[in-house]
Symmetry: D2
Amino acid sequence: MTLMRAIITTKRGASAGRLLMRLDEAGIEARIIKDGCEAIVLAEGLINEGKLQEMPEVANFTIAKSQFPLASREWLQEESTVEIAPGVVIGGGNALVIAGPCAVEDREQIVKTAQAIKKSGAMALRGGAYKPRTNPYSFQGLGVEGLNLLSEAKRITGLPIVTEVMTPEDIDLMLPHADILQVGSRNMQNFSLLKALGKVDKPVLLKRGMMATVDEWLQAAEYILSGGNFNVILCERGIRSFEKRTRNTLDLNAVPLIKSLSHLPIIVDPSHGTGDRTLVPSMSLAAMAAGADGLIVEVHPNPKEAVSDGDQSLDLEEFDDLMRSIKRLLSAISGKSLECSKCSVAA
Amino acid sequence: MTLMRAIITTKRGASAGRLLMRLDEAGIEARIIKDGCEAIVLAEGLINEGKLQEMPEVANFTIAKSQFPLASREWLQEESTVEIAPGVVIGGGNALVIAGPCAVEDREQIVKTAQAIKKSGAMALRGGAYKPRTNPYSFQGLGVEGLNLLSEAKRITGLPIVTEVMTPEDIDLMLPHADILQVGSRNMQNFSLLKALGKVDKPVLLKRGMMATVDEWLQAAEYILSGGNFNVILCERGIRSFEKRTRNTLDLNAVPLIKSLSHLPIIVDPSHGTGDRTLVPSMSLAAMAAGADGLIVEVHPNPKEAVSDGDQSLDLEEFDDLMRSIKRLLSAISGKSLECSKCSVAA
Amino acid sequence: MTLMRAIITTKRGASAGRLLMRLDEAGIEARIIKDGCEAIVLAEGLINEGKLQEMPEVANFTIAKSQFPLASREWLQEESTVEIAPGVVIGGGNALVIAGPCAVEDREQIVKTAQAIKKSGAMALRGGAYKPRTNPYSFQGLGVEGLNLLSEAKRITGLPIVTEVMTPEDIDLMLPHADILQVGSRNMQNFSLLKALGKVDKPVLLKRGMMATVDEWLQAAEYILSGGNFNVILCERGIRSFEKRTRNTLDLNAVPLIKSLSHLPIIVDPSHGTGDRTLVPSMSLAAMAAGADGLIVEVHPNPKEAVSDGDQSLDLEEFDDLMRSIKRLLSAISGKSLECSKCSVAA
Amino acid sequence: MTLMRAIITTKRGASAGRLLMRLDEAGIEARIIKDGCEAIVLAEGLINEGKLQEMPEVANFTIAKSQFPLASREWLQEESTVEIAPGVVIGGGNALVIAGPCAVEDREQIVKTAQAIKKSGAMALRGGAYKPRTNPYSFQGLGVEGLNLLSEAKRITGLPIVTEVMTPEDIDLMLPHADILQVGSRNMQNFSLLKALGKVDKPVLLKRGMMATVDEWLQAAEYILSGGNFNVILCERGIRSFEKRTRNTLDLNAVPLIKSLSHLPIIVDPSHGTGDRTLVPSMSLAAMAAGADGLIVEVHPNPKEAVSDGDQSLDLEEFDDLMRSIKRLLSAISGKSLECSKCSVAA
């Protein structure tokens, strides 16, 4: 009987509120993570496992030692899956490739890119409407206009949309347009944003902070999970090191490490991870070989004229080549399937 | 006549709006940074210096090559000063020591600390009401109650208050309580927050991101300045490195570097910078010897029982000793004065 | 006619010495990199390309702008190959897997390992006799006894030997035993050692310094090449970052980066790169998918009882599984062959 | 009775060899660190403190838990001192400023510098004769000629000489010329060199590796100490971080940290630590305020024409100004004396 955390699943139809009162009487703090027919409750305190098991609302529970209990393998031994759109699933053997430009620039750019990447086999379209830029005088994104163009690209191609949200105030604006809300590297520890996303019913793509350890990253995910939103996808995008030839140091060690610590799906961003178009194909293959559940790749019809990140964007043909290589790789080394999810999208 | 930026001061009473129109006709993008009797306008484009000088609204202008023109020494050669409260000034030879606990815990803790640090010569009180915590289950601060306790400590001691703001939504709540709004290391590139703080009429203490270069930091400051809020104080608080014995690596090189690049005042946080109480006095003296305009030091009446950051907090006596050492140091090596500002507070 | 470097190949039978005199007369400094029937000369100065071409000893030359001209793709567009032992080649489509324990411990350990890894398909045996240890009181290796045991393992299995050399004084001692002389991460900029290895007629495995940029690494290789030893194999083994879950941060970006900058073969050490046995298989596959020419993997018959680095060593079975996966991967994604070199060894 | 280390001082005239035999019988490994009238012996094993105390050769002993027992404060609570030359002492309240050019270039340069820095109050002259250069084609130092010029500067000024040794083979060559043998950052873990320096009767200046933690650094010092050479001076010279504005990140945290962990004197190199002449004065003062025992500063009569490191070298006048500031600082904040040691030199 020491200080510990338990993740409790309630019996069908049992009252999570009553369980909280019962735990409170026993001197144990608890919160409802997810209410519903079978609620999830997180309890913290001097837990007597025998007594906990006897509480009438408790179906089962897991004692978790991790700093990120809901994100940990302690709680869920199997990989969790996230459904992006009807039939488009990531995790549990389903790989997901997201592609598109850094920033939405105009209708032609985004639609043309969407059509091309779909043909090559990508399952979702990325594009920034609100851009976090280091310099206040740089292009900050098209804003609402950009969101509308993304929605149009979705209408035309059927591809679900991934776009970045920078502040809690913008979430409502984005919900009608986005299928996945992306949290950028610089916002990984924007805890107000993470808390707000815990209350949203949309998948969140949580990029690793360029300065974040794997443990900090999983605790950031825990912020979202503990709000009740279990649809979190992690994204390794490179950390900051002393090496100057690459924009960042893509840390592929994080892929098997996350797989051992957490049940959450993890994808890799080789574009920001290297900052160099010529390195993207090799590092994409390496990421999948390391066990990633997918990729997010910057693709632009004309990288040289891109408003931002042109140096790290593939053109449409290069992306098509990459997709072929990835399929060959997956068929050789893993049970992961890129095809079946794509079919679902196409259906 | 190449692409460049100019910071323009308008003539007294001239219309900044009219100047914008005039610049627009000349194909030059411009924005009003600060309106008023003498407005500040930032223009960007193919600027013909001769023609610019001839525009009737233009009093004078500076061509700036820096990525952070308003923060740069190109624009202001002299150190700028920030008035925290009537008579409490930082910059331009006035040093400022801020002290207080990591988190506001209760009335006794914060009032006792405020009284003690005032007696020792500190000029402002720090204390967190909203805490950015790595783990979602850690103590997140007292919130509004904490703000109220800070205000009470101010009523009793007269010390101006420094407290952290984590999201644009909280700014209004904090304005009645805070004399300086602090942006934490993890939010240094929370651009939505920076933009919102550019519209506020309160000094901002901008901590360096733990993985931010000096250039990124000054561009973050530029976000606030370009919104019209010129009262920005920088704070070096340690960067992340491979060394594990210290919580962070306090980068004192940043002090003379910032002094050469920018006119903004810079203070140092030796508490987060080292994470170790025993290193704080030495590094405080080193910071002042390096030319810092002040310090922000964690002080707690009983560090061993602190809710957070106890390992790096000085107790009241240790802080008193430190203040004596700092005064001796300043009298020997610089024209900086710690006394006069303090007197103003006391008055 | 500006200051530049030229790598000159002399005509068959021409005198390199005479060419040096001729260049000296023209005010150009030069040195013989490799003498022989067709010598390689490096010239530096105000080179007039037309006049250089006309010199009777000059067969052809390359103007190199790189800081590492002999290591650069400017000079050699095709990948260079290194022959480790008769028929065992790395580079130019030939992959090489080196395996073995961190330190040679005793006869049974090293012979058993050698036999097992050979059976699994490894082409060379690694094992440390002189160990660079952080602590002076740690086991420093068996020394000469270790070298003798390596030679015995070679006699029994035919596998060529890779072992580390720490100081110029030890080179002569090692030459009869080693087929590849390894330079460890901490010695990557031990320039006295690099110069001495430039004079040796054995391949050198140059590990990347844990804090070295790719440019510094290639310049370290240039020290060896410029001494006349062209048999250099690079080895990425992880760099130091802030992440603490892994011993190092294996920087696979370096693989395609080196491939674009240099003609030298590059292998990857996933054992030191991660410090964690459970991450080794994933990162080995990732390394090969990124385009590496091979691997160096720590293998021990009983990792739990290893004198050093047990945590990161595979056991014999795990290594066998890994080799199977690598073969599957290579057959799917590259023209690289692991089989043919192995056959050569077996022959 | 658990596995531990003891540092034993023998009784006057007792036989250290006999003590070793006695320990061996008790199953304890031991080595003589320093022989002589009162020998120092390091014992490792299952030590029974009572029995150890009873051994007739044992005068007293310290049980050390540190990984660097001889360098630790566990063994020596007081700061140790190192005598550089008759009357020139560092440590224990005596500060030492070493100055001079990166590389010895010619007679005039080194003599003029020596005379000027002596007049300004420096107590030793630095100058490189053998230079560790990243690029094999860069100037590698004057070698023996450089050593001779250093000796001449010493004859003229009386200043002791600090110069770098790169490999064990060069030590004998340097002994007649050098009063302090410097180990450069890139060689901090060149263990063969460290072992050789443990056998030398000259002070060693051990620079921190740019990639080394404080613990690794102290273990590198332990290599020298455990060889019997107790005259080790540590030198913080900047670590590698992501910041690009400075050549390195001078880690002044290391100064109080070393002071708490070790009795060895520590000086600071602000020239390499920043790579920028304009930052050197501020960081020199900061280093002394942090508690350093001295400085090593690059000074050149004409920095713009320096063969290497001109950007970070002070000219003679700048150095003179710096020395005045340092004296003012020391008089204000510490009991350290720069004057008395200088007087000794002058005598």
